[in-house]
């Protein structure tokens, strides 16, 4: 009994300082975001605040620009998710093949996009990849006699280009997770399937995919969280333009809160993002538990 109690208190002594600090530095801004979101408050006149209830939210939801930003964010998030998962799975599957030499070296180099500063990555893509006349992409397209779109300067293509650039940054995470998971699949399984005459595509479809389901869920939520809040990469690629073509919610909140100095509105946009993410997290945790139970 004393032993149990002492081991109980022991844990809390280690835990308490960090828990306190974490709660403080996360919950204070979160609470203030909610507080500002239900007040009329402007950037350099915050002594002059007035409670307005849900007016900021109503104003946001009625604003076509908010709806547009929401739509853009959803498209951006889904685009990054699908692209990163598909490419990550393919690369991890190829890399996990036993015939590939120097696998750790490949993997290390594949991680480079993930650590490159997103602002800098945005600059690199903007000046050297998407650039209309001298960019790498149009140079390659041109060599095959393809068209040379304006990419980031064209409303039609800017979002797609931003998705590609951001998933360039995120795919390494998917590769890493899938690769780690694939190395835990016993070789016998592949061998057995291969003696039954399965080709690479059948292996991927019938063995790898079903076994990777929990990892697929795990990486999905990481990618969704990351893409949903993305600011840096889009900011340095397009700054939210052309027009509003790449204005995601993070950028829209900045636009309203800091640039327009309407902090009430800015915070209500940001807090609506928090609510969306909270729902997503709740769904994820419920589904994840169910999948784990199913596996067991």
């Amino acid at each position: 009994m004393t032993n149990m109690r002492s081991s109980f208190t022991r844990g809390w002594w280690f835990l308490a300082p960090g828990l306190l600090l974490m709660t403080l530095i996360v919950s204070v801004p979160l609470f203030m975001a909610f507080r500002y979101s239900i007040h009329r408050v402007f950037l350099y006149r915050f002594d002059d605040q007035a409670f307005v209830g849900l007016a900021n939210y109503l104003r946001a939801f009625r604003d076509p620009l908010y709806i547009n930003a929401l739509k853009t964010t959803v498209l951006f998030t889904l685009g990054c998710l699908v692209l990163s998962i598909v490419l990550g799975l393919l690369v991890a599957f190829m890399l996990s093949s036993r015939q590939v030499r120097l696998r750790p070296t490949w993997l290390a180099l594949f991680l480079v996009p993930f650590v490159v500063t997103p602002v800098v990555a945005g600059i690199a893509w903007r000046f050297f990849m998407w650039q209309q006349e001298f960019g790498v992409i149009n140079s390659i397209l041109g060599a095959f006699g393809g068209p040379s779109p304006y990419w980031l300067l064209d409303r039609e293509t800017a979002l797609a280009a931003a998705i590609v650039s951001n998933s360039w940054h995120l795919t390494p995470l998917a590769i890493l997770v899938f690769y780690a998971a694939l190395t835990t699949i016993p070789d016998e399984l592949f061998k057995a399937a291969r003696t039954d005459g399965a080709g690479p595509i059948q292996l991927l479809w019938y063995i790898v995919l079903p076994m990777l389901r929990p990892h697929m869920l795990f990486i999905s939520i990481i990618l969704i969280t990351s893409a949903f809040r993305e600011f840096d990469m889009i900011w340095s690629l397009t700054g939210g333009g052309p027009g509003r073509a790449t204005t995601v919610l993070s950028i829209f909140a900045y636009d309203r809160g800091i640039a327009n100095q309407d902090m009430g509105m800015g915070n209500s946009i940001a807090f609506s993002m928090f609510i969306i993410m909270a729902v997503a997290a709740w769904i994820y945790i419920t589904v994840y538990r169910r999948v784990l139970e199913h596996e067991e």
Binding site: R10, W12, F14, L15, P17, G18, L19, M22, T23, I25, V26, V28, P29, L30, M32, R35, L43, V91, M94, L95, V100, W106, A108, L109, L111, V112, V115, V116, T117, P118, V119, V120, A121, I123, A124, F127, F128, M129, F134, V136, L176, V177, A180, H215, I219, R229, F231, D232, W235, S236, S250, A253, G257, I258, A270, M273, A280, A281, I285, Y288
Partner: protein, 281 residues
């Protein structure tokens, strides 16, 4: 008719070829930056001209150092990132350890809280903090920016560390208890050495996250605490982007090279550290 053996060989070649294509895709944007930073870029040039260093020069770097207030931003980046690493480790290592020692409902509530915080979009923290800091007198200070970084790092680091601590076999501590170790001794001398590789990997990841961070810096750094990521966008805004993209490239190279060197030097550690967290879910 192709024999099975040649077929397999072809497949291996094809496999390496496709991985090679992916490798080029992965490194091309940073490689283009490096190439452009060593070229005189008074004129626009084709990618090939840049890669072949047709117009080699080092002036972009001297310009980047002198014109962009580089050292001021660099100093802020180094101070904030290092402080973030130290504080995160000092706070999170005991916290994660403590979390594996408590049990029952309290444990699941706290771990759920830590996990939940990782979903928070950064802008929800950054926007209100702008006003909070103005009220507290923290606006435009390194301390304020550091606190915002910690709001991201602490949940992330704790979550990773829980995975490491849980992988330590409980027998180890039981042996320590029999030998009469104090709780602190158990933590410091018995368990901590086992998870040291994970902690180093985490330290590097936290440093990279802080070094790369831009959103908080844009919102909260004012004009006294700006790190390099804000520095380059300021520079970008002031520069005639067309004429000076060589200097911008040099500036970018200076920002990312420490991170890439770090990541490549410690890649084994980072890979195993990140997958330990990932496989656990």
């Amino acid at each position: 008719m192709i024999s099975p053996r040649t077929r397999r060989r072809l497949l291996v070649v094809l496999l390496h070829g496709m991985l090679g294509v992916w490798l080029i895709y992965s490194v091309l944007p940073p490689v283009m930056l490096i190439a452009a930073s060593f070229n005189s870029t008074a004129l626009f040039r084709s990618p090939l001209d840049l890669l072949l260093l047709r117009d080699f020069t080092l002036t972009n770097f001297s310009q980047a150092f002198t014109r962009g207030a580089f050292w001021f931003f660099f100093q802020n980046s180094v101070i904030i990132s290092s402080a973030a690493v130290v504080i995160t480790l000092v706070v999170c290592v005991p916290m994660a350890y403590g979390l594996t020692k408590i049990s029952g409902r309290a444990k699941s509530v706290v771990s759920f809280g830590v996990l939940a915080m990782r979903f928070i979009p950064y802008v929800v923290l950054a926007l209100p903090l702008f006003l909070v800091y103005v009220n507290l007198g923290l606006a435009g200070s390194r301390a304020g920016l550091l606190l915002a970084h910690l709001a991201i790092h602490i949940p992330f680091a704790t979550w990773m560390l829980i995975g490491y601590f849980e992988s330590v076999p409980p027998e180890l501590e039981k042996a320590g208890i029999i030998d009469g170790c104090s709780p602190w001794n158990l933590f410091w001398n018995v368990t901590l050495p086992v998870v040291r590789p994970g902690i180093i990997a985490l330290a590097i990841l936290v440093f990279i996250m802080s070094w790369n961070e831009y959103l908080f810096a844009l919102f909260l750094a004012g004009s006294n605490a700006q790190p390099l990521t804000v520095g380059i966008t300021r520079f970008l805004g002031g520069a005639e982007a067309g004429v000076e993209y060589g200097i911008i490239a040099a500036y970018s190279v200076l920002i990312v090279s420490p991170v890439i060197v770090f990541a490549l030097a410690a890649n084994r550690l980072i890979v195993s550290g990140m997958t330990a967290g990932a496989v656990k879910g």
